[in-house]
Each structure stands twice: as structure tokens, then as C-alpha cells.
Symmetry: C2
Subunit: 392 residues, 2 copies
Amino acid sequence: MRTADPLHLRLLRLLRDEGPVSRAELGDRLQMPRPRLLAELDRLVALGLVAEAGLAASRGGRRSTLVELDPRLRFAAVDLGASSIDVEVVNGRLEPVAAYSEVADIRSGPKVILHRVNDLLHKARADGAYETLHAVGIGVPGPVSFRDGVPVSPPIMPGWDRFPVRELLTREHGCPAVVDNDVNIMALGERHGGVAHSVDDFLFVKIGTGIGCGIHLGGEVYRGTDGCAGDIGHIQVDAHGPICSCGNAGCLEAVFSGAALAREATAAARAGTAPALVERLAARSVLTARDVAEGAAEGDVTCIQLIRDGGRQVGRVLAGLVSFTNPSMIVIGGGLAQLGHVLLAEIRSVVYRRSLPLATGNLPVVLSELGARAGVAGAAVLASDIAFGEAS
Amino acid sequence: MRTADPLHLRLLRLLRDEGPVSRAELGDRLQMPRPRLLAELDRLVALGLVAEAGLAASRGGRRSTLVELDPRLRFAAVDLGASSIDVEVVNGRLEPVAAYSEVADIRSGPKVILHRVNDLLHKARADGAYETLHAVGIGVPGPVSFRDGVPVSPPIMPGWDRFPVRELLTREHGCPAVVDNDVNIMALGERHGGVAHSVDDFLFVKIGTGIGCGIHLGGEVYRGTDGCAGDIGHIQVDAHGPICSCGNAGCLEAVFSGAALAREATAAARAGTAPALVERLAARSVLTARDVAEGAAEGDVTCIQLIRDGGRQVGRVLAGLVSFTNPSMIVIGGGLAQLGHVLLAEIRSVVYRRSLPLATGNLPVVLSELGARAGVAGAAVLASDIAFGEAS
């Protein structure tokens, strides 16, 4: 939870989220006397953050000057996955001006991965995407100490524990950097430009290789005491279930995740119970969640059942979290969101049946709008916030 | 989540929590220039909130004047339970100057119950406990719209839905009033004067007739979108468990709560498996959680097993909430906290085994310090906050 916004942060966010605004309207919106506003704008122009953008349409009297974020403003947004690097360079409005995606194994370690991130950003500069970066935001697939800018004991990221990610990026690019957990930045992305637009209290549930939850309370990301809040993949759903990578039995992500679904799909294909999967396994010798989604779309009963069984488990965990958190919205994202409305219908059915009526009366449970872009979108929001917040 | 504290709220809270402080120290602590501090103190003296209290010990130069909360300041703190009314009148330091406890059935409805509360408060005035009340804080055993000051669809409180509790108390006593859920005020009480002193992120779990959770995040009570956050009693722990009062199967409070424990103890006594319970049932024809606690203390194996089974179920739910919330502390309170260390040991064992190591590394799981007084203590904190906050 952040302390009250300083005025310049509110002003810069307003220009970021709404584009050019006249000085007169800015004064009204921020309830700021004209002399103070003009002084603040002069300061932000001198810092290279704000620029004039011509005259506004007349409101009756003299036409007011439009202001906008400086068109040269650039942020880098980085989303590291277990097996991918996504980088975008965005302008002040957070619109991409360059985007790169590469396959990469996070287990190669921080030096290799961050070297590749830096290479992509230098390439973007060579391609004319920016002259100077004003901030870098990066998401990583593991727990993060947000305050220290380092990963903390991340289970699937050997070599990254307490590696100074923020410090390295700050030094390389000469600008502020900010590090967060991948699910937190996806939630931020959905809140800024997706389905959770302006919703203050919501949960973003990522179902992919693993399962995690971004928690937005009171309009801010909630990270917990050690930065690992939202780690719902290891909530037990079946005491007699399969052993999880964490060593416990029957964790949610051992029962339903990309890996678990592929495992169950393969078993169903081998047993011959799912015709759609038998063909696909014969053709490619490996099955993924996408095969199950396609099988379900073709009406394969076993595929539909696999998705519904998984949805029920996710729904049971979410029902508990709805009773606990009483949120305004739940957003389902990550790779397995491609399972679409069969998955969603099952999750909804369990959540609505199992949670307090008062808590579910107006509770939408919806799919992510930004899909694979949620991560970089949120990293861009974080980068701009840090740049604006430090412009004081 | 509240916006930044106005200065006078910080000042009054400091005097409430620490007692008389010299003007010089107040200026230092609040980083307030002397002229502004003196003006603020004059205003608070005129409002009857602050008084002078002699001279402080010398800090080398001239002795500074001590200030304290006005000794005539009084708040009413009310804790309504399913079957009890607890009322305290406290001074500015939140020390009780009068206390009353009565048996009452919350199902008698708001008119009867609030009439009795008002009678107790008028009696306290007749007894000399106060001349004027500066605020009333009240906790009720059900969901509350904190903003509107009314209970909302409270399951065990027929007739209370949307009853204007705050308005009635304000009109009767001519001062601000504030209404909250009983578990939220218990958490506030523990944070102010109990085991969670100054802890910003913690969960207070009440195990009594029902089960609920007070959530403290970032130093504030988190109430959720509809005011029903923390309703963990209806999280499913056993799909094949007993039917709960809410209509679903295997809710936590259907499996372990005062009522559930009494039911299982009676069954064990009738089956003859628990000698300690057989005697007690013969003597009094009804068993309660206290009988199980006493049986366990005498070494009755079945009693110990009943407590451990319940602790395991509570522990499983809390393990999930620890993974989700990553709190700094868990406090166990409510009537069943009398089951003591057998219960606590089982809860701890499951939480530590089932949650992320990162989240449990420094996580104390402890018993409430204030016990049955936690509710009124929290209601007093809430009353003083509302009185101080409105003194602007």
C-alpha cells in the first residue's frame, strides 16, 4: 500500500492513461490553482517528461494549451517466463514501438538471461525505438522482494536467488528499474488496459505451467510480508493426489496445470479413451494443453471431462479465496485460459455454489483480455509508475 | 484502506497509545513546527479532547508542558455475540472505567438488543462512569456494511438485515458511532493491546460457535467489496463431511466449531470411547467444548484426538490462506482457543508442513492474549478512531 499520490504522479498518470489534455481541464481535474499547475508543468517539461501539444478546442473563452507526455518518453517492459523472454519498448501512453519474443530457458541463470534482455534492448535502440530509456520494468516467474529488487528463493529459477536484477538493469540502462513477480505484473496489465480496468479489488489467476494469483486490493498490488502472497498453486486440493514438485501431495498445480493436463491427456490417449487424443499422440508423440482444448472443441467427451475436472479443482480453491477476500472480480489468465468457456463455466459453477451469496452476488469471473501480452503490459505500467514517482 | 492520516489523528492516537507527552517531544515525533503544534493543541483543548498535565522532566533547557487526552473523554465499546452483550465505558487511554456482561440472544432482534445496550450505557452514566460519550463502537456477529453502518444479510441475526444500528446509537447518545463485524474488532483489539501489537499484516482466526477471520493488511482492517471478507467458516474441507447450516457439505465450521465439537463429544460419550466424557455427560446431560478441553487435560485419548482432528482441518484452511496472504502472524482466538496448546500444536504442524517455506520462515502462530476481552477492546479502538477522525 502506497502513501497518498504526490500531485505530479497523478498528473503524469492522467496524461499516460488519457492522452493530451488541456491545461484548463488539468487544473479542474487535479483541483489545482493555475499558478501552481503552470509551475509544475514547467518543471515536468524541463525534466523531459511533458510537452506542449497545440491548442485545445474552445470552451467558450480563450483556447487552452494542450499538454501531453513528451513524445520521446520510452519505457522498457520485460516479461520473463519459464521458457520465454518478451520485451517491449513503449512510449509514454504505453503503446508498443518495438516488440521482441524469444524462446529461452530461465534455468540458464540470470547472467545469460539478462545479457539477452540487454542485447534485445540495445538492438531496439539501434533500430531507432528509443534514444534514452526512462525506466525498465521486469517480471520474473518466482517470488520477489519488491523492496530489494531481487528474486527470493524462486523454485524454478536456479541461480537467481537474491541476484541483483534491479541493480544490473539500472546500471546498464542508466534509469530506474523495478522487479516484480510475473503474476503481479499480469494483474497490473489487466487493470490498466484489460478486463479489470479500474477495478480496485480483484484476483488475477494465472493457470499455466504453474498456478499463481495476483492480488489487487484497494487499487494496489498486495505482495505480502515476504513478497510471496498469491502462491495458490500449492494449496492442497486432494490429500491423496499426485506428489507435487514441492514435495507435498495433491497441490492444486500437481492436479491441474499445463504439465498435469499433458500427463493426464497422455494417459487417456494410451488407454484409448479419448479418440481425439489418440490421433494427436500418434502424429506428434507429445501432447499439450492445446491438444486437449482442440479435442474438447471437436466434442471429445474425455477432453471435456479433463477440463471440467480441472476447473472444479480450481473452482474449489477460488471459492475459498472468495469467501476470504470478497473481491469485485476474478480474472482467469495464463496459457490454460485457452481452454476457454468449458473451463470458465466449471470454475464459475463451483465458485457460485460454494461461496457466500453476499460475496458472489455481483462477482464476475471472466477470462483475461490481454492474453499473452498481460505480462509486458503490466511491466510497462510498473516502469512508468517508477519513472513518474521518481520525477520529484 | 484509509487515506493518509491527518495530523490531528496521529497526535490524538499518540496520546491515546502512550499517555502524557511533552509538547517538545510531540513536536519532534510529529515533525511539526512549534507554532503550528501549539495552534493545533489549542484547538483540541477547545474541543475538549486534550488537556495540560503539568511540566515534563527537564531535557536540559526550560521544562516543557505535558499534554494528555482530556481525563473526561469517554468512549463506549460494545461487543454483541450470538448469546452475549459485553459493554465497556473506557477513558481516552482506552482503560475500562465500567464494564457489564449479560446473557442475551441475538435472535431477539435489534430493537430488544439495542434497547438493552442503551439501558446499560444509561446505567453507566447514572453510576458516574461518564458525563458525555464521545463515540460508540459496536461489533456484531455477522457481515456489516462498514460504510453504511448496518448489518448485511447476517445469517444468525434474524431481523437485523440493514437495521440502522449506527443511526440509532448516534441519535441515542448524541455522538458518532461505528459498526463492524465481531471478528474485525477482535483483530483490532489484539493489534492495539494484545499479541499482534503493531503487526501490520496478520490474520485473527476466531474459533467459537462459528469460525471467522479478521484480516489486517498494511496496518488497516481489510473488509472486502461487500464487507464480508474473512468468512472462512464456509470453506469446504471435506466434500463428504456433515451438512452445514449454510446448506453445503463439509464446511470448516460444520466440521470443527463449538457446536461440531459438542456433537462429536456427545457421540463419543454415548459410544463409551471417552471415559472423561461419559462421566460428564452423565452428570450434566449436555457436553460443551470445555468438557473436551478438561478431558484432554486429564489425558483422555479420545478428547485429545477430537482436538487434534479439528486442529488439522483448521490448519489445512490456514495453510492455504498463508500461501495466499503471506502474513506476518496468525492469532487464534474465540471460545475454542481454550483448547490451548493441543489445538495450537496441531494447527502449527499443518501450517508449517503445507505452506511455502518462504512464507512460514518467520511466521508465529499464537493464541490470543486478550481472550474474551478482544472484542470490546477493539470496539474501543474503533470508537476512539472515529471520534479523533471527526475532530477536524
